[in-house]
């Protein structure tokens, strides 16, 4: 069973994203993963994420976006989380800016793990209580705790 809380680390949590635009936000979160030594090939990973982003909206509404990709740049399931006070336009169907942004990377060959992670995270973020708690979390450790509890 995939656990979101086991695929994310405190260093992968940015409570105040500096970037204010979609591609810049994705780059900021990709950089976090690179700095943690989780992604070796930044260029490939970014290209894979942006390819999907150009084709579809990963803004799932309710102020949430989950940019994601299966990529050769990842050797395991990886997550980063960024929070934006102003919100970022992820072209969500509901037209609302995204404040909670989770970046997911999974190995190219591990489709089932990837789909389960996306499904699990979407289920958690669909709950208003979880979104509120994540919006108010004061520290990365608190975000980790919320995700653990949700699972």
């Amino acid at each position: 069973m995939i656990r979101i809380s086991e695929a994310i680390r405190e260093e992968g949590i940015v409570l105040n994203l500096k970037a204010q635009e979609k591609v810049a936000v994705i780059k900021e979160l990709v950089s976090v993963m690179v700095d943690m030594g989780l992604i070796q090939d930044e260029e490939t990973f970014l290209a894979d994420i942006l390819k999907r982003e150009n084709l579809e909206s990963t803004g799932i509404g309710l102020g949430v976006a989950i940019p994601h990709a299966r990529t050769t740049a990842a050797s395991e399931l990886l997550l980063a989380f960024g929070r934006s006070a102003n919100g970022v336009d992820f072209d969500s169907l509901d037209g609302k800016p995204s404040h909670l942004i989770f970046l997911i990377a999974a190995p190219e060959e591990n489709k089932s793990q990837y789909i389960m992670a996306l499904a699990r995270l979407s289920k958690i973020l669909h709950k208003e209580e979880m979104r509120t708690r994540l919006s108010k979390a004061a520290t990365p450790a608190e975000v980790m705790e919320i995700l653990k509890e949700a699972e």
Binding site: L93, I115, M116, L118, A119, S122, K123
Partner: protein
């Protein structure tokens, strides 16, 4: 002409292969495909068993939606996923209205009242696909 195509799916009654026809249609029309699943409203004070059932249903439905997304991505289709709660006919009609959907597609599900849905959709065309996806 059909910028947004909404497809209502029931994760418990649909296999991925049955969606081929809908994906083909979205591709031909170059429409943005909105895949919608609707879960029944959760009871306010569910028992432990009901809560577990609900958890499994939500997991299965999100999994199915992302399976569809993955196939659609492989075909370079524009797609958005939605999971809502309520009665299917009312929810479909509400999404059609809110998101300016031009065309609606679904399958003859047991839990879907086709006549009621047609009434609620008004002038928005509705396509029913069979289990072979045609």
């Amino acid at each position: 002409m059909y910028r947004r195509l909404l497809c209502y799916v029931d994760a418990g009654e649909t296999r991925l292969e049955e969606l081929e026809g809908v994906l083909d249609l979205a591709s031909q029309l170059q429409s943005r495909l909105i895949v919608l699943a609707v879960l029944p409203e959760e009871s306010p004070d569910p028992s432990k068993e009901k809560k577990q059932e609900r958890d499994i249903l939500e997991d299965r439905t999100w999994n199915f939606l992302y399976e569809i997304e993955d196939v659609a991505f492989g075909r370079e289709l524009k797609i958005s996923l939605m999971l809502e709660e309520g009665k299917p006919e009312e929810t479909i009609a509400s999404v059609v209205k809110s998101y300016e959907v031009d065309l609606c597609a679904t399958f003859p599900y047991k839990g879907l009242d086709a006549e009621l849905l047609l009434q609620k959709l008004g002038s928005t065309p509705l396509l029913f696909f069979n289990q072979e996806g045609r």
